[in-house]
Amino acid sequence: MLTYVVRRVLLLFPTLFVVAVIVFALAHAAPGSPFDPNPDRPLPPQTVERLNRYYGVDRPLYEQFAMYMGNLVRLDLGRSLVQDRTVAQIIGQQFPVSAQLGLQALFLALAIALPLGVISALRQNSAIDHGGILLATLGTTVPSFVVAIFAIYLFGLNLGLVPLVGWGTPKHMILPTAILALGATAFLTRITRASMLEAIRQDYVRTARSKGLSEQTIVVWHVLRNAMIPVATIIGPATAALVTGSFIIEWFFAIPGIGREFVLSINRRDYPLIMGVYLLYALIIAVANLVVDIVYGLIDPRIRVSK
């Protein structure tokens, strides 16, 4: 088990390198540069040229890449080309906000989706099942910006229960957390319900019944664990998706998270910031997958790596 984890951790490095190559190529393949003339504040051509030379943007791509990787090895993510902060500072200040929001949303989603999915499956076609399906359908089909607008209008403007926008106090967190959780809840409810229904009609459940076990024992011991296998695989990527920040939520609620920063950095061709955030995302996703694989082995003995 330990060697497996070590091997997987070592594999992170080539993965990150490949991600770096691809992102670097894509970012630079997009037309434009960080110092494109801004019609509101025109810069003299000489200044633009000097900036390009100063930041090395005029050099051949492979040289820029080599430079970047050289710095990266020394754990230097570089400076933002647009803001007066290093990339490490930006990530350090803004990622924790997104991570907190994402984790809150994840726990909220799990707290609702797991029981709801299980009960829906056990009481198929009951009122609670229909409610669950409705929630799952709404959560996946209605975009979060629509929900966000409605929620701000209703709870913020009309009822005045929560602040409209901003971040800091628990009250600020209620709406964005709930709205971010909605999509994940819908998705997880659907998966949980489906895999419960799948597990419940397996032959081994019939075997368990033939032993005279009560329905409760059968569900807890025989069905749940099998049903959680597909759910566990989904939770990894879902966590990664949630903690890396949602542009829309962060934008609507003016939350200083990394998701908003990431999208803005792409628009501004802020190459070091794009690279930094992307590598962070890749790292998070890879680690989430690693954790899932380990947990997966704990739940399902068939894929346990070794004793």
């Binding site: 009609r201 397996q202 032959d203 081994y204 019939r206 075997t207 368990a208 019944r209 033939s210 032993k211 005279g212 076990l213 009560s214 011991w221 025989h222 664990r225 099998n226 296998i229 739940i299 399902d300 003995p301 068939r302």
Partner: protein
């Protein structure tokens, strides 16, 4: 009083396309310690019959609509759910067809066997574990103690079916239902698993019903055989009698289609032409009539009853106009069935096996139970 008495059992499935009459008026009885084979093609209602006995029919869409199942003097169909659970695994146990999917992949072997012991025999964990080792040794799992905490995927198919047998025997039930227990196994393992089932059932004095599509398998295993077709019993007889003197053309078809392994085949297997009938709207008369090469007008018009047939042992019954001396029937009574079947070598071999079963049954005397087995009251 017999251990099990099934009367006019009807199990139906209510589907979008109509009511599937999977089991349609089945009656039979079984004494304590007796062995019975139920034989028929896929979809003839054998498994549904077995599941009905334990009330394991998924409901909806299934429902036992009529009949009674008297087990040990009590009607299983009138019990409340708690009482039925008290019987399942405890008094009636079941061995399922596919050992690959019938064991829970995420629970250890020992947990899956101990579960029933803790529930029904009120053993504590360590006691149940000890008993599990004994049971696994009984079914021939090598170094059973070391394999207790293995998971099903670490066992081969044959070993898993042995685990299923151990599980079924665990609470020393009075009746075991074995539903195609060897169909999913390869042929060399089949014989071993059947032998274990047979030996242990005799040692434990457990009655069992062996459900199979293979007339070749029941021969050496059971004392009586019931042939099922389209949700009904169409022929019942002692095993020896059935092979020596089969009456119903459907039974002839099953006998003709027994595959032979001991000899290079000169001819192809002879299948029964056609398909089993649609159980939503079965044929009006005899259910086998559309596929029967001996059919007459009467077969299409009215369904025959299951009644004793002439030229046979008294408890040999068949549901066939051709075998019944009634007005318009009886044209098969004096037919030489052996010439109809043709190749008899397989049957000779089977008859030898059947004779052996009878001899073994004689030798087995009551009272000697295997070590560690406590005999339950009332057996």
């Amino acid at each position: 009083m017999s251990l099990l008495e099934v009367k006019d059992l009807k199990t139906q499935f209510f589907t979008r396309d109509g009511v599937v009459r999977a089991v349609d008026g089945v009656s039979f009885q079984l004494d304590a310690g007796e062995t019975l084979g139920i034989v028929g093609e896929s979809g003839c209602g054998k498994s549904v019959t077995a599941l009905s006995l334990m009330r394991l029919i998924p409901q909806p869409p299934g429902k036992i609509t009529e009949g009674s199942i008297m087990f040990d003097g009590q009607d299983v169909l009138k019990m409340d759910d708690d009482d039925v659970r008290g019987i399942r695994g405890n008094n009636i146990a079941m061995i399922f067809q596919d050992p690959m999917t019938s064991l829970n992949p995420v629970l250890t072997i020992s947990r899956q066997i101990s579960e029933a012991l803790e529930l029904h025999l009120k053993m504590d964990r360590s006691e149940a574990r000890r008993r599990t080792v004994e049971l696994l040794e009984l079914v021939g799992i090598p170094s059973a103690k070391k394999r207790l905490d293995d998971y099903p995927h670490q066992f081969s198919g044959g070993m898993r079916q042995r685990v299923m047998i151990a599980m079924a025997l665990s609470c020393n039930p009075k009746l075991i239902l074995a539903d195609e227990p060897t169909t999913a196994l390869d042929v060399t393992i089949q014989a071993q698993v059947l032998q274990i089932l047979k030996d242990l059932a005799r040692e434990f004095r457990t009655a069992f019903i062996l459900i199979t599509h293979d007339l070749g398998i029941v021969a050496g295993m059971t004392q009586r055989v019931h042939v099922m077709y389209a949700g009904r019993i169409v022929e019942k007889a002692d095993t020896g009698e059935l092979y020596a003197n089969p009456k119903m053309p459907y039974t002839w078809g099953l006998l003709r289609s027994i595959p032979r392994l001991d000899e290079v085949r000169k001819e192809k297997l002879v299948p029964i032409e056609g398909l089993p009938p649609d159980l939503i709207s079965p044929p009006p008369g005899c259910k086998f009539e559309p596929r029967c090469q001996y059919r007459k007008e009467i077969c299409h018009e009215r369904e025959p009853d299951l009644i004793p047939v002439p030229n046979a042992k008294p408890d040999h019954e068949a549901r066939c106009w051709g075998t019944q001396r009634v007005p318009g029937g009886g044209w098969l009574v004096d037919l030489d069935w052996q010439s109809e079947i043709g190749d008899m070598a397989v049957l000779e071999q089977i008859k030898a096996e059947v004779a052996q079963v009878a001899a073994e049954a004689e030798r087995a005397t009551p009272g000697d139970l295997p070590p560690g087995v406590s005999q339950k009251e009332g057996i």
